[in-house]
């Protein structure tokens, strides 16, 4: 059994080149949106704007300026988090989503029937339908490459090693070292998803951020969808009970009805 593998994304060295986006599309043969003919988004240099079924990598650009030339430009390559406790895997009704031997989360395209429950279940908005396959798709952490000992396409392509691939143990050590280095330089650096006691049991694709998670489009405290199951079911039962009682009380055969209905059959 191999060790859990994943990504560590050091956003402080990301140059926003989007090599990860294209390398991912190349390896996974994902189509461009509308054949490549699109409109300018107007959102800095980000024209991808989201992760979805044909964009398994997305580089986010965040302009934070106080005035001309006075500020910073944050960039971050986003991807499936391969959560240790994965919401998508939890809800998937077909068994298409599995946890692999590398502790990654993979949607098997030949099993998925496109019910899209996983899309709503993912707290990060990672999954969406690939219009070509009709199934839900997302980053596989290049499962096929991993099985033959190749590094995932995106981290392999990343020119500045902002995206690093390796065993989770090793990556976490490296990430902590880098965060400490930055903190020593006075940078407000924090790791997101590197804690196995944290939300979702830790993320196998985790990040080094220099601002609040929300700034990067990440939920502060991602949760599993099942957190709502018991409560929701309980209230449903309550509601059902109330209505059941009302129905029993209101609909059961009554004497008055018997009398009123006597002419038609009650006396038979």
């Amino acid at each position: 059994m191999p060790e859990p593998m994943g990504f560590f994304t050091d956003t402080t060295v990301c140059i926003g080149c989007k090599a990860c986006e294209v390398a991912c599309k190349e390896w996974n043969q994902l189509p461009a949106e509308n054949g490549g003919i699109r409109e300018l988004s107007g959102d800095s240099y980000d024209n991808t704007r989201r992760l979805d079924g044909i964009h398994w990598r997305h580089v986010r650009f965040i302009e934070q300026f106080k005035g001309p030339y006075d500020g910073r430009w944050l960039m971050m390559s986003d991807v499936c988090k391969h959560c240790v406790q994965a919401g998508c895997l939890e809800v998937c009704p077909t068994g298409a989503i599995i946890r692999t031997e590398f502790d990654t989360v993979v949607i098997q395209s030949d099993v998925c029937n496109g019910c899209r429950a996983c899309i709503a279940a993912c707290p990060f908005g990672v999954i969406d339908v690939n219009p070509v396959s009709g199934t839900a798709q997302k980053c596989t952490l290049c499962y096929d490459r991993l099985t033959v000992g190749l590094e995932p396409a995106c981290s392999k392509a990343c020119p500045t090693d902002s995206i690093q691939f390796g065993t989770i143990t090793e990556l976490r050590t490296r990430a902590q070292k880098r965060a400490d280095q930055l903190k020593a330089q006075g940078v407000k650096a924090a790791l997101y998803g590197a804690d196995s006691n944290g939300p979702l049991g830790g993320l196998n694709s985790f990040y080094l951020l220099v601002d609040e998670p929300e700034v990067y489009g990440l939920p502060r405290k991602p949760q599993l969808p099942s957190r709502n199951l018991a409560k929701s079911a309980g209230f449903s039962l309550l509601s059902a009970g109330v209505l059941g009682v009302l129905a029993l009380v209101g609909l059961r055969k009554r004497r008055m009805d018997e009398v009123g209905a006597g002419g038609t059959g009650g006396s038979n």
Binding site: V91, P93, C115, I119, G134, T135, S232, F235, G265
Partner: protein
């Protein structure tokens, strides 16, 4: 900001909305039919039979809607069997969509049986095979009561699990409140009753039955309104999502037209049919508003603060 704003919309739109609506009616109607089957009088039989018929048709329609909505409709069976390991069963107790699929399947089975029993009771089955099946569960028989009772209980489940399904996600509104299942059950009951009010007269339902249904519907609407208030209260700051078209639909369409107006009609003892129609409209708009309000939250725009 709720963490649900960073998730992605699953594109559950018209097919799912119609399914939630139809499923609610079918489940609600079936439950009411079963109650009347067990506890009602002989005069309620037409309502019972109508209820089972609505349930059967609704279950089949629901299945069809769900299947069409799939990205890969031919793989609908992957939800109940392991595709790689057929015929091993595919079931996840903690996934509403998984147990919901099973629930719908079983519900459909019992609802169809009950409907066949009802038709056998009326002597309307011509096909020998159907007649044999229908005869085994002929309406009014003990077995039919058991079958109908199971269908009725499953009916509540069908009406409610869809709300739970929405809650067991990470989407805004849906996952921000535990009350959706309860709300959908109430709505299922009220729309189920409304459907019976509208449809059972054709099968010979009498005034008394209709009056009782109407009275029940009134109570169900009150419950629904109560749960809706609880639901909105539990959303807290997420309620800002309602600012816009879907909030208007919820307020005017669901609360006004779908709950308050029929309540007023019921109380004024106006013709039950018009109240029932409004209830159905309200039930539909409830699903529509709940789903589209959340679907419309574009994770990117929220995240980017646009």
């Amino acid at each position: 900001m709720s963490d649900t704003f960073f998730s992605g919309a699953p594109h559950w739109t018209w097919f799912i909305i119609v399914y939630f609506f139809v499923g609610g009616i079918a489940g609600g109607a079936c439950f009411l039919a079963a109650v009347l089957d067990w506890f009602g009088g002989p005069g309620d039989r037409p309502v019972v039979r109508t209820g089972y018929n609505v349930a059967a048709v609704g279950a089949i329609l629901s299945g069809a809607l769900l299947t069409i909505d799939l990205g890969k409709p031919l793989r609908f069976w992957h939800m109940v069997f392991q595709s790689a390991n057929f015929p091993a069963i595919m079931f996840k107790g903690w996934s509403p969509i998984s147990f919901g699929a099973w629930g719908l399947l079983v519900f459909g089975f019992f609802a169809v049986l009950s409907a066949l029993g009802g038709m056998a009771e009326e002597g309307r089955l011509r096909n020998p095979a159907l007649r044999a099946v229908g005869g085994a569960v002929r309406g009014g028989s003990g077995l039919a009561k058991v079958v109908g009772g199971v269908a009725g209980l499953l009916g509540i489940f069908i009406a409610g699990y869809t709300g739970v399904l929405l809650s067991v996600t990470n989407r805004p509104i849906w996952a921000d409140s535990p009350w959706l299942g309860a709300l959908f059950i109430a709505s299922g009951a009220s729309t189920g009753a409304a459907a019976l009010i509208l449809l059972s007269p054709r099968r010979g339902a009498n005034e008394q039955s209709l009056a009782r249904l109407s009275a029940f519907d009134t109570k169900a609407l009150v419950v629904e309104l109560l749960v809706l208030v609880l639901f909105l209260a539990s959303l807290g700051s997420v309620n800002r999502v309602w600012i816009g078209l879907w909030g208007l639909v919820l307020l005017v369409g669901v609360v006004g037209l779908g709950i308050l107006a029929p309540l007023r009609l019921h109380i004024q003892r106006r013709p039950v049919a018009s109240a029932a129609k409004l209830v159905l409209l309200g039930g539909f708009l409830l699903r529509l508003a709940t789903i589209f309000a959340s679907e419309g939250v574009d994770r990117y725009r929220v995240a980017a603060g646009l």
